[in-house]
Subunit: 248 residues, 2 copies
DNA sequence: CGTATTTTTGAAGCGATTCAATGGACGTGG
DNA sequence: CCACGTCCATTGAATCGCTTCAAAAATACG
């Protein structure tokens, strides 16, 4: 399905199309293909030939990598405006990850040929893509450092904070992760097991830092998480305002 | 020091300047600055304002990241022709790692302004940079996956194989890592401790897979490493041709 | 209301780290 | 050329953080 005028605003807001003038945006749009995905559907699969570059318009995507042994790890969350599979610009490459829709998602995409052509005509696009990739590179370096040098509890704290930044919604009670996140998901994001995640969250819940349910996490006291993530001395005890039970 | 004509060949071979015509190469050269570094000197330091993009012409660089606690991890090895610090294209960024010379190194560099200007005039440069970054991104994803899912022995095997690919020199005895690599270095590359690396290498040496000395590693039987890295069933026993001792 | 999925919790075990002490290689200067 | 100091590597023993496995509880959903 070719993109329509309604997508122009979306395209204009995408990171890799920043600072383009209207004519440029129009030609970008002319080559765009829009597609809709339902919860759980895959936009592309790891190891398939990489032929298109995608920009998420609405919804969210999860990037997954499967190990040869069948274990799964979470390579990141994609939010609207972000581009993925920039690798497709190279010839004869394969997607290094799979991209799966969380909830329903609207995705625009361009073929290698077309995007290449657009970039030659408008170098700003390539520069924007470079920026986005660089940023993500730094994020990966950070994750790598964390994995090699930090204990699990700290990594989980960081993982939660990252999630909060990308998909947090402020409520009166605190910051709610506005996505279904299972213990398993968190484990895949932080390089541990769902058991350890469960234990850690329970501990935090006792301390009043968070409030967790089935696939649902509410951060009541973000600063508490920060002190864990940064390994600072324990702060003031969190404001103890638990919903119901008060005798502990 | 401004680059001279002698650097033109180097520039033409750099990955990010591939497929440029001679006029373009000349203008790239016009903006280049060349600098020489001695063993151990730093090209730039982590957290310094990122103002230049570098291309390694000769020698090798080590990319290091320092944790807040002072631990160090090795973010990769840079070989001639590779570009680093592409992040400098963004404004107001800081280098996420430090770059240190191994042996003596010749480095060319461009200011943000100049390279930006060159890229606008010649989009191919930006596309090349995108390619290079994408490749490195995949490498990082792999390392991340390895770190979260694989045991130490396997990671060390992979680390050694990577080193062999980047800096291996074939000899009659096997593949020699053509760089001083300490146990500590390997530990920083693979996310473990120098003790565990030492133990692992000793074990491999007993099995005849490698032959290790002080900051020196010779891979006698690369296939043995591959089977460890890929977790294949143990292969034929390695060709047992130890230099001296034969009674074991 | 039954079934499926997610989560919790306990107990056992192990891989890897930590620490300490020793050994060996290298370079330097007497 | 030997003696020395420095740096790197090895090895053992103790410990621990985390995983693994099993079982039960809690929650969602048709």
């Amino acid at each position: 399905m070719t993109a329509h005028a309604e997508h122009l605003a979306v395209i204009a807001q995408a990171d890799i199309f920043h600072n383009l003038d209207t004519p440029a945006l129009r030609s970008v749009m002319a080559y765009a293909v829009a597609a809709h995905y339902q919860e759980g559907e895959f936009v592309f699969y790891q190891d398939d030939p990489a032929e298109r570059v995608y920009v998420l318009a609405e919804g969210r995507l999860r990037l997954l990598q499967l190990t040869p042994e069948g274990a799964q790890i979470n390579m990141g969350l994609v939010s609207p405006g972000q581009a993925i599979a920039v690798i497709s610009l190279l010839e004869a490459q394969r997607y290094p990850v799979s991209a799966q829709a969380i909830g329903s998602a609207l995705v625009l995409s361009w073929s290698r040929r077309d995007l290449h052509h657009l970039m030659i005509g408008c170098p700003q696009i390539a520069l924007n893509a470079l920026q986005e990739l660089s940023q993500r590179m730094i994020e990966f370096q950070d994750r790598l450092r964390e994995l090699t040098t930090e204990r699990v509890e700290r990594r989980i704290a960081r993982g939660l904070l990252r999630l909060a930044r990308q998909a947090g919604r402020k409520t009166e009670q605190g910051v709610l992760i506005d996505l279904p996140v299972s213990r398993q998901d968190l484990a895949e994001m932080t390089g541990t097991t769902l058991f350890t995640v469960s234990r850690t969250l329970s501990q935090w819940e006792e301390r009043g830092i968070i409030s967790a349910g089935r696939e649902r996490i509410l951060i009541r006291f973000p600063h508490g998480l920060v002190t864990i993530a940064e390994d600072l001395p324990a702060p003031h005890p969190p404001p103890s305002e638990k919903p119901s039970d008060s005798q502990v």
